[in-house]
């Protein structure tokens, strides 16, 4: 994949909405996946793209299929 194409592809995440559905605070989610609360804040704002490992851990904690939380926005 070209660098140019990688630059325009953005990973969209629905962590905030699924977390709120589970009535979970950012602090609780952060503790469960072993990261800082600031990382969850950045992730929810879309400023940070998590590693595959972290994405899988979040999906597991929120009990949702990873494809429902994280997906590519190619536009």
């Amino acid at each position: 994949m070209s660098e140019e194409k990688r630059d325009v592809m953005i990973v969209i995440n629905k962590v905030q909405s699924f977390r709120k559905k589970r009535k979970m605070t950012q602090e609780v989610l952060a503790n469960k996946v072993g990261v800082s609360r600031k990382t969850i804040v950045s992730l929810e704002k879309g400023n940070y793209t998590p590693s595959l490992l972290l994405a899988l851990q979040i999906a597991k904690v929120l009990e949702i299929d990873i494809n429902a939380i994280f997906y590519l926005d190619e536009e």
Binding site: V35, S36, K38, P50
Partner: protein
């Protein structure tokens, strides 16, 4: 963020005292060629440096043992990270600091060359070189700190 401020502040003070101590020793040193003898003195800055090493060492040990220390490790120092996002910030900050230091050292190399041609007093030249090297290290520590804080705040 606090751990990086703590570590870099300590490092900056340490290098500052070490540089001043070295400059003081160079300026007070005397060397006789025949018969060969030399003398130099350990000034106040060397004692301050040793004192700071002890204080900073204890503070680092205490910070490492402290709960909620944002993942600070005495072994990793300024490269301590709490999670993968901070790891990324640390790598980016290191890369920017490296690039900045290389550019700065190239400039300093030319500056030393220029000063070597015009500064005739050996002690003044030696002090200048030590000062420039120490100063560049302090600039390096400051760059890492500023870049780290900027990247962390941007997220």
């Amino acid at each position: 963020m606090k751990k990086i401020i703590f570590e870099q502040t300590g490092n900056i003070i340490m290098i500052l005292l070490l540089t001043l101590g070295m400059i003081q020793t160079v300026l007070t040193a005397t060397v006789n060629k025949g018969p060969f003898s030399f003398s130099f003195e350990f000034g106040i800055f060397w004692f301050l440096f040793l004192g700071w090493l002890i204080i900073f060492g204890i503070a680092r040990f205490w910070y490492g043992k402290k709960k909620n220390n944002e993942g600070y490790s005495t072994k990793k120092g300024e490269f301590s990270t709490e999670d993968e996002r901070e790891e990324l910030i640390s790598k980016k900050a290191s890369l920017i600091t490296f690039k900045m230091l290389i550019s700065l050292w190239i400039v300093l190399l030319f500056l030393c060359f220029g000063l070597g041609l015009f500064v005739t007093d050996t002690k003044t030249f030696q002090s200048m070189v030590i000062g420039m090297l120490g100063g560049s290290l302090i600039i390096g520590f400051l760059t890492y700190l500023i870049v780290w804080i900027t990247l962390d705040s941007k997220d």
